[in-house]
């Protein structure tokens, strides 16, 4: 179905006749509700659509939208994929879906309430015990936890597909920590920009009200007696699959994004560990899987949880939503029972159809499934167990036999479901539109007595036209989902609409900043500065290489060699230009130089600092301007590309450094121009200043510790000034060749050169005074050290420092740089100690039942599994 340049969307689009297609009628014309959109898209033309598609990709890249995949080689950061063509649903059809989602949410809420409460549904036989009791997501320690208010089930996602007859059918429920609402919102933000005119005219229902409801819902579940609840979003961290969304949702809601290690249970309640004190937490929007949430009562080796959290939740000191243990609702066997339960519990038929399915715990159903293994899809009742979903038709006979014995061994763990082929929708391909299968994820959140449903959702399409399964994990493409308004929304309604937001009180910015976030910001500043300083020095050295590499021995070659040695020392990338191989490397420095740019695994290399900078920024994504990711992400991709092209050419090195410096300037500008002067910025800038001071001190120490002959020194000093971004200032101020004492004047003691050590120290003193003031923990050791460094710099005379002994060694300079280095490192340690207060490492201890084991060391010292190991994976 390849058409070179389709004149119209319709003309080039040929869906299979046996499935329902979202866009075209079986007769061939577009469905009525697509009419205006199809016309508008046709007017744009295919070429323009392809252009907009590229714009879509760019917009997502700018926003840094990722979905991390857990691969065998560890987590993989993957760009989020969005097809530019939305899926369109008419208002009446949507109303039916919405009602069905609300009804199902109500029913699941009743079930959840019962399973962690009285368990009458088990006692009266409505739900077989083994279905629930054998589900690893049913968590016995979470028995009797109650969410205040009307509902136990706070939020729910339901995956729907449309069967060939056009009926929307439930595929599965997501209740543990439903993901996707943030991605849906991001999709909408991008598509409504890229197709702004079409979007405005189409009259599409907005998604934002869902987040407003979510926000007021979070406030309404606060523990009794709390009027202004403090709310956080708990994430497993930047390595989790949906890390982007956690930060996105936190930023949308305006609540801090935290990890387990940011929280602590103390005095019976939960606290956020902020920079200088503990602040109470009342409500937690939980995006960490329940099982990982508490090493005391749940998974003992979890690094993602908070010790004592279950107990705090059980006593109502904190509310988690969804409540711990809610994942049991995802049990596929429960899904089979829901239609029956609906009649019994709410006296209604479920309005959303369920895919015909059979729970093998029932003997008759089991027979049916075993007899039809080759035509059904077989799922484990518990998502976390039993491996991937099996599609009967794709199984080899050996696999089928294996599955058959697994089912016969523990029938209650298996469910068979009819394979339903979802509807197709057009996806933009390179030169055509292709029909692909879709799944629609819908979102509901508790609101008063009922549930509010996001008007729209996250449509995902299969990666190719043969795939039966659609999931993010295997690389699905997503689509925006447009629900057409039943009535036009006026602009004023947009601004005034919805319930008035909860009364907003201004929040103390430091109350929002966790100690971990502060620490990451500090390191973000340091790595940004380190990467920049290294790039500048590399560029200065490389300039000399281009000039002198093939020259005869003389000042030029000597200066080049001195700079290369300086490079190894400043970046601490030994042995480099000072080790056993030094002579060979100094002769042909090119490979070593390009390694210092692109080698991501080499500490001190530019690419390594960029990687660490990116890791630090991922951990504080909610604090940063999204442009940060645009800048750093692009740079990282370029460095990675360079690393692939072996034998980098001469100008490639120079070009890469130029690009890198541009990026660092942009980053510095973002920090200076786009960040509010709040504690977050202060930690970022403190990191920058510490690192810049260190870099200059190291540069001076490494390059100027020894006096060389005049012409050589002059060349070296000029490069030092270039690397320290002070050459222009120097020339203007001194109008001469470089002399050691004046160079030291400018780089060390000058109070008005933004690249001097003194300038950094002044700013540090300011930051540290402010931190001391706000913490109330006087006096600050870091501040004392900064002042000590200022005194040291002020007390030094450039003339004395430039003096050398008979062997050319500048002893005073060496002493000063070494003392300053020590001071700055101590200062960094003191900042860490005074502000970031990490918890000590934690581990589990277990007392055995048999006291004959009485005089033994703890089990983990013997390498035992229950005690020692730590886990940071899982939970997503």
């Amino acid at each position: 179905m390849t058409v070179t340049s389709p004149a119209s969307l319709l003309g080039a689009y040929l869906p299979a006749s046996e499935t329902y297609d979202e866009f075209v009628e079986p007769s061939g014309g577009p469905r009525e509700h697509w009419g205006p959109l199809a016309e508008a898209l046709d007017r744009l033309g295919h070429r323009e659509l392809v252009r907009r598609s590229a714009e879509t990709v760019r917009a997502l890249e700018q926003d840094g939208v990722t979905y991390n995949a857990n691969t065998a080689d560890g987590p993989l950061r993957r760009a989020w994929s969005l097809d530019p063509l939305p899926v369109v649903l008419p208002a009446p059809e949507w109303s039916a879906i919405e009602a069905g989602v609300v009804q199902r949410a109500h029913l699941l809420d009743i079930v959840l309430t019962d399973l962690y409460g009285e368990r009458r549904l088990l006692a009266d036989g409505s739900i077989p015990h083994e279905l629930v009791f054998d589900d690893p997501m049913f968590l016995r320690p979470c028995h009797a936890i109650r969410v205040p208010g009307q509902h136990q089930l706070f939020s729910l996602a339901i995956d729907l597909i449309r069967d060939p007859s056009g009926t929307w059918t439930v595929m599965s429920d997501r209740a543990e920590a439903p993901s996707g609402a943030g991605y849906a919102m991001e999709n909408r933000m991008v598509i409504s920009q890229v197709f702004s005119r079409i979007y405005r005219r189409a009259g599409v229902d907005r998604l934002a009200p869902y987040f407003r409801t979510l926000r007021s819902g979070l406030q309404s579940v606060a523990p009794a007696g709390v009027d202004e609840p403090r709310i956080v979003v708990l994430s497993p961290g930047p390595m989790s699959e949906t890390a982007f969304e956690h930060a996105f949702v936190a930023a949308q809601l305006g609540y801090p994004l935290v990890e387990g290690s940011d929280l602590v249970v103390r005095d019976g309640r939960v606290w956020l560990r902020t920079v200088n004190r503990l602040r109470p937490v009342d409500v937690i929007l939980r995006r960490v899987d329940s099982w990982f949430c508490d090493p005391l009562e749940l998974r003992p080796d979890s690094e993602l949880g908070v010790a004592g959290l279950v107990d705090a939740a059980r006593r109502g000191a904190v509310t988690l939503v969804n409540p711990l243990g809610s994942g049991v609702l995802e049990n596929a066997g429960l899904g089979v029972l829901l239609p029956t339960l609906a009649k019994r519990l709410i006296g209604e038929e479920l309005t959303l159809a369920s895919a015909p399915s059979w729970w093998c715990g029932d003997p008759i159903s089991r027979q049916h499934v075993l007899a039809n293994l080759d035509s059904l899809v077989i799922r484990s009742t518990a998502r976390s167990r039993g491996g991937p979903t099996r599609f009967g038709p794709q199984l080899s006979s050996a696999e089928r036999d294996e599955l058959r014995s697994a089912i016969q061994a523990r029938p209650h763990r298996w469910v068979g479901q009819e394979i339903l082929c979802g509807s197709t929708a057009p996806v933009l391909a390179r030169d055509s539109y292709e029909p692909r299968r879709t799944v629609l994820r819908t979102f509901a959140v508790a609101s008063g007595h009922s549930y509010a449903v996001m008007t729209g959702g996250l449509t995902r399409v299969a990666p190719d036209d043969t795939s039966l399964a659609v999931s993010n994990q295997i690389g699905a493409v997503s689509k925006d989902t447009w629900v057409l308004s039943s009535e036009p929304e006026s602009l004023s309604a947009f601004w005034l609409g919805g319930a008035p937001l909860d009364h907003e009180t201004e929040v103390d910015p430091s109350a929002m900043l966790s100690a971990r976030a502060a620490e990451n910001l500090f390191w973000l500043g340091r790595y940004a500065e380190r990467a920049e300083a290294t790039a500048r020095l590399l560029r200065a050295a490389n300039t000399r290489r281009v000039e002198f590499e093939h020259s005869r021995p003389g000042p030029g070659v000597n200066a080049l060699r001195a700079l290369l040695v300086t490079l190894t020392r400043v970046t601490a990338t030994y042995p480099g230009f000072v080790g056993d191989e030094a002579e060979r490397l100094l002769e042909t420095p090119e490979l070593e130089l390009s390694g210092l740019i692109v080698d991501r695994n080499r500490g001190g290399a530019v690419a390594n600092s960029v990687q660490r900078l990116l890791d630090a920024s991922e951990a504080v994504r909610d604090q940063l301007s999204i442009d940060t990711f645009l800048v750093v992400g692009a740079l990282q991709r370029e460095l990675a590309e360079m690393a692939q092209t072996s034998g980098a050419q001469e100008d490639a090195v120079q070009f890469a450094l130029g690009r890198a410096l541009q990026a660092f300037l942009a980053l510095g500008g973002l920090g200076a121009e786009s960040m509010v002067r709040d504690p977050a910025w202060r930690f970022l800038d403190t990191g920058r200043r510490v690192e810049r001071a260190l870099q200059v001190v190291n540069l001076i120490g490494a390059a100027m510790g020894v006096e060389r002959d005049g012409p050589t020194d002059s060349l070296v000093l000029e490069s030092v000034l270039t690397a320290a971004e002070s050459i222009i200032t120097y020339r203007r101020r001194y109008q001469s060749r470089a002399h050691p004492d004046t160079v030291l004047d400018l780089l060390l003691g000058s109070a008005d050169n933004p690249r001097s050590v003194r300038f950094q120290l002044d700013l540090l003193v300011g930051h540290l005074e402010e931190l001391e003031r706000s913490s109330g923990n006087t006096p600050s050791k870091a501040l004392a050290l900064a002042r000590q460094a200022v005194a040291l710099v002020d007390g030094a005379s450039s003339g004395d420092l430039a003096e050398s002994d008979d062997a050319g060694v500048r002893h005073q300079l060496e002493r000063l740089t070494s003392t300053l280095r020590t001071l700055l490192h101590s200062l960094a340690d003191a900042v860490d100690e005074e502000n970031f207060g990490r918890l000590l490492p934690h581990r589990s201890v277990l007392t055995p039942t048999d006291t004959s084991l009485r005089f033994v060391t703890a089990p983990h010292d013997n390498g035992g599994g229950n005690g020692g190991g730590t886990t940071t994976g899982g939970a997503r």
Binding site: P128, E130, R140, E297, L853
Partner: protein
């Protein structure tokens, strides 16, 4: 019988512990024909919080937190328990066949109690189904045999075919290893018996508690020489359970004091915790006195 029990657990660490979170399962309640007349727990350093509750399995448990720096943690629990009403035989269940109990549990329209007991047939954290144990247990469960005879036989076989030997297993040694080396301690034997009973579809739970040990003839009772102990509770239908001890090849009669029930050890360790510390080692000492009064 009436006992005064003291149970003292000491963790000595080689570095400062800045915070300690713990959970106890060593507070007997009125179960199994026993009555707890008195009960208290002392923790040193004094905990900031101590919250008692009844857990999912019906046990009394408590969660505590300590935020004072310490290098030693001592948990002492004391209780007075009367075990006079503890069943001492299978009296009343003589006619039950093991299949009868199994079928009652798995009948779809059976008693709620019978169905609820299914929780104790399913796999649990430390007791996974193993073919080698299924095969090992099978000879005890011949068709038509009474529950009493079948269970007694399996208990006896474990007692005679496995060697009680402290130190060969750890708190988390797998059942496969225990099967292979045919050695272990009470916790291992209890798990083994659980796996065997569950392999034929019978509900069985893990019991943790104390056992009064008689001093050798002519010797005085040694202070602190008694034991915490573990055995198994077998389901007899209609919500009734009876305790059997594979380590000592006998019914868990009045000399046994129950502190907690679970599916296996992992549900109810006497004391478990999470500590925040740089300490690499800790020395654990447990002293138990079960004194008849």
């Amino acid at each position: 019988m009436r006992y005064e029990i003291s149970h003292r657990t000491t963790y000595a660490y080689d570095d400062i512990v800045s915070a300690s979170y713990g959970q106890l399962h060593q507070m007997p309640s009125d179960v199994d024909g026993q009555r707890c007349l008195e009960r208290w727990v002392v923790i040193d350093p004094a905990p900031d919080t101590f919250h008692e509750r009844i857990d999912f399995f019906g046990n009394r448990t408590a969660v505590f937190t300590i935020h004072a720096e310490h290098t030693e943690l001592v948990v002492s629990s004391h209780c007075t328990v009367d075990t006079s009403d503890r069943p001492t035989s299978f009296e009343g269940y003589e006619e039950l066949t093991w299949e009868g109990v199994r079928d009652a549990v798995w009948s779809t329209d059976g008693l709620a109690d019978d169905r609820a007991a299914r929780d104790y047939v399913l796999e649990s954290p430390m007791v996974k189904a193993l073919d080698v144990i299924t095969a090992y247990a099978a000879p005890s469960f011949t068709p038509g045999r009474t529950l009493h005879a079948a269970v007694t036989d399996l208990v006896h076989r474990i007692h005679t075919e496995f060697t009680y030997e402290p130190g060969v297993t750890k708190v988390d040694t797998s059942l496969a290893t225990v099967m292979e080396q045919r050695r272990g301690v009470c916790q291992d034997f209890a798990h083994l018996l659980l796996a065997g009973l569950r392999s034929v579809g019978l509900p069985a739970g893990y019991v943790s508690g104390y056992l009064e040990t008689a001093p050798p003839p002519g010797k005085a009772r040694l202070v602190g020489a008694d034991q915490t102990h573990a055995w198994v509770s077998v389901y007899c239908g209609q919500g009734r359970w009876i305790g059997v001890d594979p380590t000592n090849d006998q019914l868990a009669g009045p000399r046994y004091v129950t502190t907690a029930y679970g599916r296996d050890y992992a549900d109810i360790p006497p004391l478990k915790g999470v500590i925040y510390t740089n300490a690499k080692k800790n020395e654990l000492t447990v002293e138990v006195d079960v004194v008849p009064v």
